[in-house]
């Protein structure tokens, strides 16, 4: 989970195997350190809870990219993604993006690296008329929202760049203080697809990101997965 951190001990989220934070020093250098601060906003906890609900046996790791001020956001995001890819995670959830064009090329290279290293990057699409990255890259799985209540229902979009729509409206999510709130946004549709990817990989760990994306297409509710 590349996000705002995850509240440790949240009953909906369960165990977090490791939590790190990306830090930015005054010279603009980034480091990745173990993180004991939990979640700075609630958003990361919400996303982690959604993955946990769909893939209860998944091993969750938190990479916090919030907390170093807004100015360094892009550099911290890039460093967080790079670190996560180096760890060789099976699935990376990114319910965030950057609008800075200067980071688009490095993000494209990183997501390509992930793609060839068998790491699936699932990223939130933007539902505003704004260019942002990395969700637009074909090496990631991009996710928007539908309004239906079933967390396992998702649709393949015949008109990309948004590739899939998952449950993202009025979702009950884990939040700070060990509680829950109701939330809406592509942020919450993205971990639903990340959770489904984890489920697919748990049964078929040999699949590449290309193959997993094909499986998602084939089991999408508007393709072969309709009940």
């Amino acid at each position: 989970m590349i996000d705002s951190g995850v509240e440790l001990g949240h009953p909906t989220v369960g165990e977090v195997a490791r939590a790190v934070a990306v830090k930015l020093d005054d010279d603009g250098n980034v480091t990745v350190v173990d993180d004991a601060e939990g979640d700075l906003c609630g958003h990361g906890t919400a996303c982690a809870g959604i993955v946990r609900a769909l893939a209860p046996e998944a091993e969750l790791h938190s990479v916090r990219v919030l907390g170093e001020g807004f100015t360094g956001t892009g550099a911290v995001l890039v460093a967080g993604l790079k670190w996560a890819i180096e760890q060789g995670y099976d699935v990376i959830n990114m319910s965030l993006s950057t609008t800075k064009r200067q980071f688009s090329e490095v993000l494209r290279e990183l997501t390509d690296t992930a793609y060839f290293n068998r790491t699936i990057v699932v990223a939130s699409a933007h539902n505003m008329p704004v260019e942002s990255y990395p969700w637009r890259f074909s090496s990631v799985i991009s996710v928007g929202s539908h309004e239906e209540p079933d967390p396992l229902v998702f649709y393949a979009n015949p008109e990309p760049p948004v590739e899939f729509f998952a449950r993202g409206v009025d979702v009950e999510v884990a939040w700070l203080g060990r509680g829950t709130i109701r939330a809406t946004g592509n942020s919450f549709a993205t971990p639903a697809v990340a959770g489904i990817c984890a489920l697919v990989l748990s049964k078929h760990p040999e699949l590449t990101p290309f193959q997993v994306k094909n499986v998602l297409y084939l089991i999408a509710s508007n393709v072969g997965g309709a009940a």
Binding site: S4, L40, C41, G42, H43, V65, L66, G67, E68, G69, F70, T71, T73, S95, L96, S97, T98, T99, K100, R101, S124, H126, N127, M128, P129, V130, E131, S132, S145, H146, E147, V169, D170, W175, L176, G177, G179, T180, I181, R182, A183, T184, G185, N186, S187
Partner: protein, 211 residues
């Protein structure tokens, strides 16, 4: 060159106050359209890396403008940094949120919608709409509507930032170009024969300088 343009703009183009009025109008319309209790626009201040309330409608509107909050924590901070719209209900159940918000605003909403204000590739701030009436389910159309307001607010915010930059040039006494701004402002305020004489003088000056 852009400093010169800013300087002239500071003298003759709309003032910061007029753009601030535009922002106020946007939050007032957003509040009315969504039937919400309050709406606000927060501007990111790169100098201090904080979010500043630039316009507020509804609850807290009298005292909030100018209030600063950290850009790196909380829901507005997340929306700014993730560039992602967010709608949350029952936020009062989050004790940290309730405490932080109550401390800065004196008003704790139950629900909020927040959208990043992006102009070109720059994220300038956040638009918030607080406590829209409870409905059985939020709709994607409402998010789209919020996004449209966000696009409009981002343009207004960009104009406000430009006006502030121009004002900074105007107020900067040692600046080489400040004199151009003051001259433009002075001519703008003249009328009748004085204005015509001033413009003639400037035209002569231009001919002299371009020799």
């Amino acid at each position: 060159m852009s400093d010169l343009r800013d300087a002239v703009a500071a003298g003759v183009v709309a003032s910061e106050e007029r753009f601030a009025a535009l922002l106020r109008s946007i939050v007032e319309v957003a509040r009315a359209i969504f039937g919400a209790k309050a709406s606000s626009i927060l501007l990111h201040d790169p100098a201090t890396d904080e979010l500043v309330f630039a316009a507020v409608a509804g609850e807290g509107s009298s005292s909030l403008v100018g209030t600063r909050i950290p850009s790196e924590t909380g829901i507005a901070g997340w929306v700014l940094q993730s560039h992602t719209p967010l709608v949350l209900e029952d936020v009062r159940s989050d004790p940290r949120f309730a405490h932080d918000v109550a401390e800065t605003t004196g008003y704790v909403p139950n629900g909020l919608m927040a959208v990043p204000l992006v102009y070109e590739e720059r994220t300038l701030g956040v638009l918030q709409v607080l406590d829209r009436p409870h409905r059985s389910q939020f709709s994607l159309q409402e998010i789209e509507l919020l996004g449209l307001f966000g696009s409009q607010a981002a343009v207004a915010l960009d104009l406000l930032i430009s006006a502030r930059k121009a004002r900074a040039v105007l107020d900067d006494e040692p600046s080489d170009v400040a004199v151009v701004a003051r001259l433009a402002a002075t001519i703008e305020q003249l009328d009748g024969e004085d204005r015509e004489a001033g413009l003639r003088l400037l035209a002569d000056l231009e001919r002299l300088l371009s020799r």
